[in-house]
Symmetry: C2
Subunit: 355 residues, 2 copies
């Protein structure tokens, strides 16, 4: 798939690549929408799904906001390509498991994506580096308005937008912010923060969403409630809390330097040493090592590479991307070998360029 | 103590420094002897011990075999100096705990040492790099004969030489070989070897003797029995077993390369990465990292340094040597910091010289 492979040549909208952010890595807003009079995808048969795909696809594809997007039908994608799209946060693992009639329509700069026939008929998202939830909301709201002027949504005046899962009914909106919180993790304060956030109606998840752990000390914080509150109010509250957490993180980093400078330098130095010299690296360990280098760059303790090199590796070391890089499907053990080689080469190459 | 400090400028006879050995690191033979008609040191009071020290010292000091040795009274040594001597395998921890009347008489090249009023009145040893137990025995036997021509030993025609502890009665000889066995450890075969060796009357101990673990994958193998067998027979058996273990080790290394080359390279690469970049290194971890580098040099996978640099570090990173290097007594936490700095500097400096 030439068009999908082209994606891999750009750094990707996700994870602040090119954004040079610190604690506040990226923002994302997604909307769940369904078409009036149509069965939700989980209840529709393949025939209905394919019919709906054929009806919706030309409408979405031609939206001015998406400016000639990439159209990807799931059934046409290899397993590796599906993994690549998931790893770039462009589609869900749920969509990857679907058959005919499901697909992804993707703005070529990766900032906007619309999934068709995932759990809902439409799942659209806007992503941006840094803390820009309100801006993401405005962009996705404009896209949503464009679509709504062409298609009749399933909508209840009492409940709002109707969705396949009741947890999304109302606004259908999930706004989230990715935070890099190594300071709170190293100071053993992260659990208190997670508990506190959960009590006020927000959800904390790992790097790849629900059910994944916070590898690389990356945490996604999103709204729980979609019913009974305006989108702007939800987002204002989310941004406020996220800024508070970022303050806690900065505070934790300051105390790390004051109270544990040597063990912090040791932590970062070892990460650098292992990444430069290991021959086998699994995904979890690599994310944790990258997190240490990312922290080191933020604190000025690592100056060998621009942060973009490290941030890009967060994505490139994932199984799908690794297999793209190798040019073939390879098993977990060989991936560990390839991952270590990629990391060594990438660090050595970029260091030469900047050195 | 100018004379003791001079020792630190030489590489030391122990651990094959300068010997460029592989699996068979070093050999050592010690003899326990006591003076006829005198109470063993554990029963003698300080007055008797001091009297005996004053009688024995001039005799030992003037032996031609020791050629103007260094004479060190324990009570005159600082704690750091005592540690340095223990770390260089020149005296025992037992001797270090003694007071007036105990001491060490040391040939200046460190190959021979005589402890006075340790557990026995005399404990003399000869050390050599490589597998040279029989040669060590011949040298110490010559020294013993010199002493015996001047002093009457406690001797029983039926039992042989009498010693404070019954486990040494007879020959009073303990012959030992230090082996570096990372292959057997990495292949999980070391426990079988240790069990087998124990069944045939030999003892396996760690780097610093009884009760220490095999940090750095260094194992000391010595005879258990001192009674009812001639010294030469004991040594022949020890050398034979040790050569068999060395064969097993070489075999394990060959299989490591055949079956697990990548994880072996990973193991060695990580050791190098951590040693070059860590800011905190405790003694146990450092010995294990040094063991990995030493194995890497033996296998031709590490070519950055001559082995002598690594072998020297086995001793230099020990607490006493570290404190000598720092020029003052420092606690365990600061030692970890100093140890990491020493390792980083030493590896960087020696690499430049050879590179």
């Amino acid at each position: 798939m030439k068009t999908l492979d082209d994606l891999l040549k750009q750094p990707g909208a996700w994870l602040n690549v090119g954004g040079n952010t610190g604690v506040l890595v990226s923002s994302r807003v997604r909307l769940a929408r369904n078409i009036e009079g149509e069965a939700f995808p989980g209840w529709a048969g393949e025939e209905e799904s394919v019919r709906l795909w054929n009806e919706l696809r030309p409408v979405i594809e031609s939206l001015p906001g998406l400016s000639s997007p990439l159209v990807l039908e799931i059934a046409d994608l290899s397993c590796v390509d599906r993994d690549v799209l998931i790893e770039r946060h462009l589609m869900s693992r749920d969509l990857a498991g679907k058959g005919r009639g499901s697909g992804l329509i993707l703005k070529r700069d990766e900032s906007m994506a619309v999934m068709l026939n995932e759990e809902d008929h439409l799942r659209m998202q806007v992503m941006s580096p840094g803390l820009k939830v309100m801006q993401c909301w405005q962009e996705i709201n404009a896209l949503d308005t464009e679509i709504e002027s062409r298609i009749a949504y399933a909508f209840s005046p009492r409940l709002g937008y109707l969705t396949a899962c009741p947890t999304n009914v109302g606004t259908g909106m999930r706004a989230s912010v990715m935070l890099h919180l190594p300071g709170l993790v190293l100071m053993n304060e992260i659990n208190g923060i997670i508990k506190g956030v959960s009590k006020i109606g927000l959800v904390v998840r790992g790097l790849w969403g629900e059910g994944t752990d916070a590898s690389g000390n990356m945490f996604q914080i999103s709204n729980q409630v979609t019913l009974g509150e305006k989108e702007a109010a939800i987002i204002e509250r989310l941004e406020k809390i996220v800024l508070e957490i970022a303050e806690h993180e900065k505070n934790a980093r300051a105390r790390l330097i004051q109270q544990r400078e040597t063990s912090l330098r040791d932590h970062i130095g070892r990460a650098f040493g292992i990444m430069s010299q290991a021959y086998l690296l699994n995904s979890k360990e690599t994310l944790d090592l990258l997190s240490a280098l990312r922290l080191g760059i933020d604190l000025g303790l690592v100056t060998d590479w621009p942060k973009a090199v490290i941030d890009e590796l967060f994505v490139l070391i994932q199984p799908g991307h690794l297999q793209k890089w190798e040019g073939k499907a390879i098993g977990a053990e060989k991936r560990d070998l390839a991952r270590a080689r990629l990391v060594r080469e990438r660090l050595a190459e970029r260091r030469r360029k900047t050195g």
